[in-house]
C-alpha cells in the first residue's frame, strides 16, 4: 500500500516529480519512469522529473536488484499516476459540473468533450495537493507505446558534466585508503603505523581490528602512506557459517523413471568465480559530523547504506543523508557499498569529509565475486523423444546477503540487513533457493525430476552478479538439454517446444528460430549455431547465437538473435540497450573470464590479469525483438537476457566443431581439450 504523495508531486509549473528509492547506473530508469507516469497521466515524458535514491525524500526501498525496478517500483509509480489521474478527473468534473466520463485528460490538462472548457493540472492542484492512499484495484490505462523514443536523457554524460560519486568535492575534503588483503577474511596481525604517519600529508592512521586505513590531504599521499603500513596478515579463520541445502524439486519415482528411459546420459558442468569488474571501482565520500552525516557512494542500497553509516557514526538514521550521484555500472556489485562504508569510518575518525576511491586491485581483491558452481546432471529420454527423468545436484556459494560475506568495513550489527529489509526473518533455505537456486529447476514439462542445491561459503568473497545463480544454473541446464537432444537425435528447438505448453515460452522460441534463419544456418567446418532460453521471473527470453571456431580452437561470437517477452515495453530503445548489454556481458564471461585465485588468494591486480571483452570481441550484430503484449504488465530486463547467452554459445561451439565444453570459460585451450577428450 502506498500513498500518492510519497510517489508523485504536481509542481506549480505543470511538471510532475516522480519519486523512487531505486538507483540509476545504466539500466535506463531515468528514461523509463517518466514514460510510465506519462502514459497514465497523458502528458509528455519530458514533463516528468525523476528523483531517485535520495533517502531524505523518496519512500523507503529495499534496494535496486533482481530486475525489479520497472516491474515493481514502476508498477507503484504507474498505480500512483493512475490514482492521480482519477483524482484530477474527479476534481475537474466537480468544478466543470459535469461527469468524469465526459472529460479528456491530455497534455497536462483536463478538457470537456462537450464544450471544450479546460482546466490545467496546475489549476487543479493549486492549494490542494493530490494526496491519498492508492487503492489496490486502481484502474490502469491500457498502456500503449505512444511515447516516441527521444534522445536518451544523457546530455550530461556526453559532455562530461555529469557528476559521479568520484567527482564530489567538499570543502576540507581529505583522501582515504584502506588496506585490502588478497585473501578474503585475512586477519590483520600488524601494521607500521608510525611509518604511515611519517609520510607527507598524512592526517590520520586509523586501525580498528582488521580495518586499517589512512587519511591524507592528497590521494597520492594517502597511497604512499597505505604502502608504508607494511601490513602482516594472518590467514582467515575457517568459515563459521555452515552450508545450507535446499531441495528445489523432488518428484516421486525418479529412479523408476530413469530405469524406464531408452537413453540415459550424465554430465558435469562447472562455472568459475567471475568478477563484476565495473569500469569505475567502488567509491564513496562521507562527511560525518557530531550531529549529522552526509554520504555519497556507489550503491544499490541507499537506505541500507544510510542505516549502516548511522551505526558507524552512532547517529539516528534520520540524521544521515544519502546524496545520490551518477555511478558506474556495478551489475550487482554495488549491493555492497564498500568504499562509502570505509569513507564513513575514516570520516568518523577525523571528523572531516573523506573520499575513498578503490583501485583496480582493490576491486579484484576485495569486491564480491560471482559464486563458483558445479552441477552433476543426469537425464533420461524415452523412445519417443520425451525427457522422462531428470536429476541435478548443484554445489555453489552464497550470492546474496544471507551468509554471503559482508563488506569488511560494515558495522558489526547493521541496523537492518539490506536485502531482507522490512520483510525480515526469511529462512536461509528460502534465501539460498531464491538466489543460488534461481532457475535451477528447468522451465520444461519433464517426467520425474529431482533438483538439489548445496550452498557453502567459498574462500573467495562472493555476492550478487547479474542474474545471481540463474546464469550458472541455466548454463548447465540448457547445455544438458542440448546434449539430450543430440542423444535422442531431435532438433534442439523441437525438443524444447515438445516440453512446454507455455504460450509465451513457445512464442519466443518460435520467433527467434524464424529470425535467426535456424533452418538454413551454416553448420560445421568451424561454423555453428546454438539456442538456449529462460523464463526469468515473468520475463521470457530465447536466444540463438552463431559462432566461428578457428583451427586452434579460438571461438568468435559472430551474431546473436534475441526474442524477449517482458510484457509491455515502456521504452523500446532503452529496453533493446539492456538486452544487447546483457548479451555482451554474458558473452564476455562465457568466452573469456575466470577469476584467478589459489588457496583463497585472488591473483592479479589489473585488467591484464582479468581481461573482459573489448570492441574487437563484440559480435557483428545483436538482433532484438520484443514479442510481448502491451496488456501484460512490464517485467524485468536487466538480468534475464544475460542468462541464455552462455549455453547458447556452448551449444553453438558443439555445433561448429563437435567440442562439448562443460567448463567455462570457453577459451581456445578448453575447446582443444574437449576435442581430444582431455
Amino acid at each position: 500500500m502506498s500513498r500518492v504523495e510519497e510517489r508523485l508531486r504536481f509542481e506549480i509549473d505543470g511538471s510532475v516529480t516522480a519519486l523512487s528509492g531505486k538507483m540509476e547506473y545504466g539500466q535506463g530508469l531515468r528514461a523509463a519512469y517518466p514514460r510510465i507516469v506519462a502514459e497514465e497521466l497523458g502528458i509528455a515524458p519530458s514533463r516528468v522529473r525523476v528523483v531517485l535514491g535520495d533517502t531524505d525524500v523518496v519512500p523507503w526501498d529495499m534496494g535496486t536488484f533482481g530486475s525489479m525496478s520497472v516491474e515493481m517500483d514502476g508498477r507503484e509509480l504507474r498505480r500512483a499516476a493512475a490514482f492521480a489521474r482519477s483524482e484530477l478527473l474527479a476534481r475537474a468534473a466537480s468544478r466543470l459540473a459535469t461527469q468524469a466520463t465526459e472529460l479528456d485528460i491530455e497534455d497536462g490538462a483536463v478538457t470537456s468533450r462537450l464544450d471544450g472548457r479546460t482546466l490545467t493540472f496546475t489549476q487543479l492542484v493549486a492549494g490542494e495537493p493530490v494526496t491519498g492512499e492508492v487503492p489496490e484495484d486502481v484502474p490502469l490505462a491500457v498502456p500503449t507505446p505512444t511515447c516516441p523514443d527521444g534522445p536518451a536523457d544523457s546530455v550530461d554524460l556526453v559532455t562530461g558534466r555529469a557528476q559521479f560519486v568520484a567527482d564530489v568535492r567538499l570543502p576540507g575534503m581529505l583522501h582515504g585508503r584502506v588496506l585490502h588483503p588478497a585473501v578474503h577474511g585475512a586477519r590483520l596481525r600488524s601494521v607500521d603505523r608510525d611509518a604511515a604517519l611519517a609520510e607527507a600529508g598524512v592526517v590520520a592512521v586509523v586501525v580498528e581490528g582488521d580495518f586499517a586505513g589512512v587519511v591524507a590531504e592528497r590521494h597520492g599521499q594517502a597511497l604512499r602512506a597505505l604502502r608504508a603500513q607494511q601490513p602482516q596478515w594472518d590467514p582467515p579463520l575457517p568459515p563459521q557459517a555452515p552450508g545450507t541445502d535446499a531441495v528445489l524439486r523432488s518428484d516421486a519415482g525418479v529412479d523408476e523413471a530413469f530405469g524406464g528411459a531408452a537413453t540415459r546420459i550424465a554430465a558435469r558442468y562447472f562455472t568459475p568465480h567471475v568478477a563484476s569488474a565495473p569500469i569505475g571501482p567502488s567509491v564513496g565520500v562521507a562527511d560525518v559530523r557530531a550531529d549529522e552525516a552526509f554520504v555519497y557512494g556507489s550503491t544499490q542500497v541507499p537506505f541500507g547504506l544510510r542505516d549502516a553509516v548511522a551505526a558507524i557514526a552512532k547517529l539516528p538514521v534520520e540524521r544521515v543523508h544519502f546524496r545520490p550521484r551518477a555511478m558506474s555500472g556495478g551489475y550487482g556489485r554495488h549491493g555492497s557499498s564498500d568504499a562509502a562504508l570505509e569513507a564513513a569510518r575514516l570520516s568518523a575518525a577525523v571528523r572531516r569529509p573523506v573520499l575513498v576511491q578503490w583501485s583496480r586491485a582493490d576491486e579484484l581483491h576485495g569486491a564480491p565475486h560471482r559464486a563458483q558452481m558445479e552441477a552433476a546432471m543426469e537425464g533420461g529420454v524415452d523412445a519417443t523423444g520425451r525427457i522422462v527423468a531428470w536429476r541435478s545436484e548443484i554445489s555453489t556459494n552464497p550470492y546474496g546477503y544471507a551468509g554471503a560475506a559482508a563488506a569488511r568495513s560494515a558495522p558489526a550489527r547493521p541496523a537492518r540487513p539490506a536485502a531482507m529489509g522490512r520483510a525480515g526473518g526469511w529462512d536461509p533455505t528460502q534465501m539460498v533457493a531464491m538466489m543460488a537456486g534461481r532457475n535451477a529447476v528447468p522451465p520444461y514439462e519433464l517426467g520425474a525430476a529431482e533438483v538439489r542445491l548445496h550452498v557453502t561459503p567459498g574462500r573467495v568473497r562472493t555476492g550478487a552478479l547479474r542474474s545471481l545463480g540463474a546464469s550458472p544454473n541455466v548454463f548447465a541446464i540448457e547445455s544438458f538439454v542440448d546434449e539430450l537432444a543430440r542423444a535422442a537425435s531431435v532438433d534442439p528447438f523441437e525438443l524444447r517446444l515438445r516440453h512446454t505448453s507455455d504460450a509465451r515460452l513457445r512464442r519466443v522460441l518460435e520467433v527467434v528460430r524464424e529470425r535467426s534463419g535456424w533452418a538454413h544456418a551454416r553448420r560445421g567446418q568451424g561454423r555453428g549455431v546454438g539456442v538456449a532460453c529462460v523464463v526469468y521471473r515473468a520475463t521470457y527470453v530465447a536466444e540463438v547465437v552463431e559462432v566461428s571456431v578457428a583451427a586452434d580452437g579460438e571461438v568468435r561470437l559472430e551474431r546473436v538473435w534475441c526474442a524477449v517477452d517482458a510484457g509491455h515495453i515502456v521504452h523500446p530503445d532503452g529496453a533493446r540497450n539492456q538486452v544487447e548489454g546483457a548479451v555482451q556481458m554474458a558473452a564476455s564471461w562465457t568466452l573469456i573470464e575466470e577469476l584467478p585465485h589459489r588457496d583463497g588468494e585472488v591473483l592479479g591486480e589489473t585488467w591484464e590479469d582479468y581481461p573482459i571483452a573489448t570492441f574487437r570481441d563484440a559480435p557483428r550484430a545483436i538482433d532484438v525483438v520484443f514479442t510481448g503484449d502491451d496488456r501484460t504488465p512490464s517485467s524485468g530486463l536487466g538480468e534475464p537476457p544475460a542468462v541464455p547467452t552462455g549455453p547458447a554459445i556452448a551449444n553453438a561451439v558443439f555445433d561448429a566443431c563437435g567440442a562439448r565444453v562443460r567448463r567455462l570459460p570457453i577459451r581456445a585451450a578448453a575447446v582443444r581439450r574437449a576435442l581430444t577428450g582431455g
Partner: protein, 150 residues
C-alpha cells in the same frame, strides 16, 4: 613545480609535484572531472584525453610530459552549446548506459574521425579497442561513430 598547460584552448598554470599524473591534475587541480578514473594503469580508456589530437591515457601520463601540448578533455569538445558530432551521435544512437566510459570513447571517436573521415567498422573497432565498456554498448558506439562520419 609549476607547469604551463594548454587545456581546452586556454593556458592553465598548475603547481604540482613532478610526476603527478595528468588525470590528478585535471580532476583535482583544474576541476575537470569528465576524464574518469578507471584503473590507473592505462588499460581501460576511461581517462583518455587528447594531446595534440591523439588519445592518451591521462592516468599514466605525467604532467611534465604534456606541458605545452594542446590538451582537449570531454569538457572542451563541444563548441559552446553545440555538441560535437560524435557527442550528438552517441545521444542519437543511445550509445551509453552508465556513462562512465563515455568521455573516453567519444574523444577517441572524435580523434579517429579527424584522422580517417570515413572509417570502416573494423577501423572503428581497432581505434576504440583500448576502451572497455562493461555495460556492453560496443555495437551502439560503433553505430554512433559511423553516424557521426556521415
Amino acid at each position: 613545480m609549476r607547469y604551463l598547460l594548454q587545456v581546452n584552448g586556454g593556458p592553465r598554470e598548475v603547481d604540482v609535484p613532478a610526476g603527478t599524473p595528468l588525470l590528478a591534475v585535471l580532476r583535482d587541480t583544474l576541476g575537470l572531472t569528465g576524464a574518469r578514473f578507471g584503473c590507473g594503469h592505462g588499460a581501460c580508456g576511461a581517462c583518455v584525453v587528447l594531446a595534440e589530437g591523439a588519445p592518451i591515457p591521462a592516468c599514466t601520463t605525467a604532467v611534465e610530459d604534456v606541458a605545452g601540448r594542446a590538451i582537449v578533455t570531454i569538457e572542451g569538445l563541444a563548441r559552446g552549446d553545440e555538441l560535437h558530432p560524435v557527442q550528438r551521435a552517441f545521444l542519437q544512437e543511445g550509445a551509453l548506459q552508465c556513462g562512465y566510459c563515455t568521455s573516453g570513447m567519444i574523444l577517441a571517436g572524435a580523434a579517429l574521425l579527424q584522422r580517417v573521415p570515413s572509417p570502416s567498422e573494423d577501423q572503428i573497432r581497432e581505434a576504440l579497442a583500448p576502451h572497455l565498456c562493461r555495460c556492453g554498448v560496443y555495437l551502439r558506439a560503433i553505430r554512433a561513430i559511423q553516424r557521426a562520419a556521415r
